[in-house]
């Protein structure tokens, strides 16, 4: 597969954003007439790599060769000039223009100083028929067609601009399985014509169905490029997650024997809860005092499930039963009053209130559950804040300091304190150890175990399987926005979780 027909060669690409190394020395080679899939979890650097290639971002270091010649991609126009064109995840066309207009917008053929509409319509029709096997009326508005057709039009436009390289960034995320089949047929046709395609997707099945080669990125680092046929699913996942099978140690220790205290005890029961397009309906019985893990790759629906339980997103299906009270949906304030707490995944956007003090951040949830009129007296606020600053060992000279001056780990502890102050019975922790240093990580893990031993039920979500294995009594495995399996007790091992994610596994909730 190597040799002279390498179309695009990226070597040692580095890109740094303030505070984050998005790409560190990434290599990427594209061969003529191949479909090359880019894999990696969210934040692995896929989008950054694509944005570098399409001129949205400029590289800090490294070289890009196009057919052997070094090029510099300084803008999106430059990328198009080099024959690299992209179809982004969201269709970015104009729904209020016709199909033909959308294909030729910005580069309309002219005749005697005005736009040559006949040629536009004729060429658009020819382009769609010959290259994509799509027979539609190109004079109709784009909005009159389905999302799948719109996607095809976007591809047609990209194919027409492109001279050999086409980038498809998650084109399948809004398509159903038939439409995906149609898209793949088109991709194979383009490939046969000699087009080199870079394909990004989250869906494992699609990777194996369509790609020739796979490049895996993790945390902005290049992991490797592999022939799709020779790479087993389980290997692919362990490369994405960053764990090899042989060196996995099984460190499962029970957090006391809290696992199955009393099955009869009705605490929180979710029946057929779901939201269209976000997460398939699921049943979960949350038992008091357990640590329940949600495992799965990022984007598998873990966070979405948690948000549904806490009422951040409104469920459009199913019911939530809390101690015999039944709700068809729930909202954050109600959830807090029912004794729920939620440490969100994105600490900066969803967690901290940057400009406010540590004290104000800690009492916020407690105060909102008490309402506007019952304002906690300052003495009480200080008392609560100081208690948790001491208990959680938050490193700060004063509780009146702004929270955004703290380190990530300490910010996370403040968010934890915010929920502990409400005296919760169910605490949802979504990636509580993300983006914080190792010391703080182990402190937070210890804290989670301690809380569980004190009888607080915990839903634990983490990308680090080791953490899940360490503390969970029960793990639900999610894939492609669905809960696919349940692991209990001794079954909770890293290899088991990975295997379940890879293979799909049994039928959760069907028995």
């Amino acid at each position: 597969m190597a040799g002279s027909n390498i179309v695009l060669d990226m070597k040692g690409i580095c890109k740094t954003f303030p505070g984050v190394k998005a790409l560190s020395s990434v290599d990427f080679q594209l061969v003529k007439g191949e479909i090359h899939t880019l894999m990696g979890e969210n934040g692995a650097g896929k989008s950054t790599l694509i944005k570098v290639l399409t001129g949205v971002h400029q590289i800090d270091d490294g070289k890009i060769f196009l057919e052997g010649k070094e090029i510099r991609i300084t803008s999106t126009e430059a990328a198009q000039k080099h024959g690299i064109s992209t179809v982004y995840q969201e269709v970015n066309l104009c729904p209020n223009l016709s199909v033909a207009e959308n294909i030729y917008i910005g580069r309309e053929p002219m005749k005697r100083g005005s736009i040559d509409w006949d040629t536009i319509n004729k060429n658009a029709k020819k382009l769609l028929e010959e290259r994509l096997n799509l027979k539609i009326d190109v004079k109709k508005l784009l909005s009159s067609y389905s999302v799948a057709i719109q996607q095809m039009v976007a591809i047609a436009r990209a194919v027409d601009i492109s001279r050999g390289i086409l980038i498809l960034d998650e084109p399948t995320s809004s398509l159903d399985s038939n439409e995906v089949k149609q898209l793949f047929k088109t991709m194979r046709k383009l490939k046969a014509e000699g087009m080199s395609i870079v394909f990004v997707t989250h869906f494992l099945d699609q990777v194996y169905e369509i790609s020739d080669r796979v490049t895996v990125l993790r945390n902005g680092k290049f992991i490797g490029t592999y022939e799709a046929k020779k790479l087993s699913r389980i290997d692919l996942i362990s490369k994405m997650v960053g764990k090899e099978f042989n060196n996995i140690e099984n460190t499962h220790k029970k957090a006391g024997d809290a696992s199955i205290k009393s099955i009869e005890d009705n605490f929180v029961k979710l029946s057929k809860l779901g939201k269209r397009g976000t997460i398939e309906p699921f049943d979960i019985d949350i038992k008091p005092g357990e640590i329940l893990g949600f495992a799965g790759l990022l984007g598998s629906g873990r966070t979405e499930t948690a948000k549904l339980i806490f009422g951040i997103d409104k469920a459009d299906h199913g019911t939530i039963k809390i101690r015999n009270k039944e709700y068809s949906y729930i909202y954050p304030l109600k959830a807090i009053q029912e004794g729920f707490g939620f440490c969100p995944e994105d600490r900066k956007v969803e967690g901290i209130i940057g400009e406010l003090s540590i004290r104000e951040n800690i009492i916020l949830a407690l105060q909102s559950s008490m309402g506007i009129l019952k304002y906690l007296p300052m003495k009480k606020q200080v008392e609560i804040s100081e208690k948790y600053v001491e208990l959680l060992k938050i490193a700060t000279p004063s509780i009146e300091k702004r929270i955004d001056n703290l380190s990530g780990g300490n910010q996370q502890k403040v968010i934890l304190a915010r929920w502990l102050a409400t005296n919760p019975q169910l605490l949802i922790l979504d990636e509580p150890t993300r983006g914080i240093d190792v010391g703080a990580k182990s402190e937070i893990m210890k804290l989670v175990m301690k809380l569980a031993s004190e009888g607080i039920t915990i839903i634990f979500i983490s990308s680090e399987l080791q953490e899940m294995v360490k503390c969970c009594d029960r793990v639900l495995v999610l894939r492609d926005r669905m809960i696919i399996n349940e692991l209990i007790g001794e079954e909770i091992k890293e290899d088991m979780i990975m295997k379940t994610i890879a293979e799909g596994g049994s039928s959760y909730g069907k028995n």
């Binding site: 951040i312 954050p332 304030l333 959830a335 807090i336 939620f342 969100p344 956007v349 969803e350 967690g351 901290i352 209130i353 940057g354 400009e355 406010l356 104000e360 009492i363 916020l364 949830a365 105060q367 909102s368 559950s369 008490m370 309402g371 506007i372 009129l373 019952k374 304002y375 906690l376 915010r418």
Partner: protein, 345 residues
């Protein structure tokens, strides 16, 4: 020892958000005093206090009211540019009641109530429909004066009802509007800072998403803020029309929304929301009113008054900006460095 303590007190004062607005206010009063030494004099006549300072307080009262409302709206990253029009509507409604010989209490209640209604309309658009605050309040900004004209049939209503006029021109040692402004400021302070509303407002202003995760119903809070802002504008409308004994749909409260926004900014509240300072706003409003009075009293030609005002405001805003102060300091350091070098040579 003594000196460091003094330094501490000074730096504490220096870091207080109200420091710069206060300095500005003091400066403009000093300038006036230099130009006209009688400026600070307060006399007792017929049991009333008279003097330029009292006059400024009196005239600033409506501006203080709407600036307070504007502060809390700006704190949640909003804005209400319709307050001037709300003033016109409320003035016309209450004047209509008075002219048709209705009771004074009804006139006052009606004026405040239409202000509240307007605020509710703004709050509904911004909080529940999700219209951009500027666009949402622009609607009432435009249509408000039209509504006011419809109410008065396009005429300027004048009246002589003594007890209604008392509201805007009366005296109990000091003018009645000053009492109203003080009372409203205290009530606002109580509502905002002695309940958890202030905390919620600041939380929403800094990070609306995270506030939602903490269980705050931001829509309801934002709605309430616009309603309060409208109510205060209604009250300001009452004072203004009672003060000039007439209601003019076209001119009542004109440009006042801009002065209010300026007062908020000078008072130290950022236009991007978050932390807000009611005290700073009051000082800011007093500053704007002093500036206007000064420009008139030192006889700036009418055609350049707005330019003078603009220059002063730009200067004040620049002085307040931490980035600009840093630049100034750097220049000073640079100069010191240069002189040092010269000395060495």
């Amino acid at each position: 020892m003594e000196k460091t303590k003094n330094n501490n007190v000074f730096s504490k004062l220096y870091n207080m958000p109200i420091f710069w607005p206060l300095i500005c206010l003091i400066c403009i009063i000093l300038i006036n005093f230099i130009i006209n030494p009688g400026f600070l004099k307060i006399e007792m006549k017929d049991g009333h206090l008279f003097g330029s300072l009292i006059d400024i307080l009196n005239r600033a009262a409506p501006l203080i009211l709407i600036s307070l409302g504007m502060t809390i709206v700006i704190a949640v990253q909003g804005i209400d540019i319709s307050v001037g029009s709300i003033i016109a509507i409320s003035a016309c409604v209450s004047a209509t009641v008075i002219v048709s010989n209705g009771p004074v209490s009804l006139a006052i209640a009606a004026g405040i109530f239409v202000g509240l209604l307007c605020g509710i309309w703004n709050g509904f658009l911004v909080a529940y429909i999700g219209v951009q605050p500027m666009v949402g309040t622009l609607i009432l900004y435009i249509v408000g004066r039209g509504i006011a004209q419809l109410i008065t049939d396009g005429k300027i209503l004048t009246f002589t009802n003594k007890s209604f006029i008392f509201l805007g021109t009366g005296y109990l040692l000091i003018p009645i509007p000053v009492y109203i402004a003080i009372a409203v400021t205290l009530i606002m302070y109580f509502i905002i800072r002695k309940t958890s509303l202030g905390l919620f407002v600041e939380a929403i202003g800094v990070n609306r998403e995270a506030s939602r995760f903490s269980g705050i119903n931001s829509k309801r809070v934002i709605f309430a803020l616009y309603a309060i802002c409208g109510l205060l504008a209604g009250l300001a409308g009452l004072i203004i029309c009672s003060n000039i004994k007439s209601a003019d749909a076209n001119n009542a409260g004109q440009w006042l929304e801009l002065d209010a926004i300026l007062s908020v900014v000078i008072g130290g509240t950022s236009m991007s929301g978050g932390r807000f300072y009611l005290g700073g706003t009051v000082v800011g409003a007093l500053f704007i009113q002093s500036l206007t009075t000064t420009i008139y009293s030192i006889g700036v030609p009418p055609e350049v008054t707005l330019v003078v005002k603009a220059i002063v405001v730009i200067t004040v805003v620049l002085i307040q900006s931490p980035i600009f102060r840093k630049m100034l300091n750097r220049n000073k350091l640079f100069r010191n460095y240069k002189t040092k070098k010269v000395a060495e040579v």
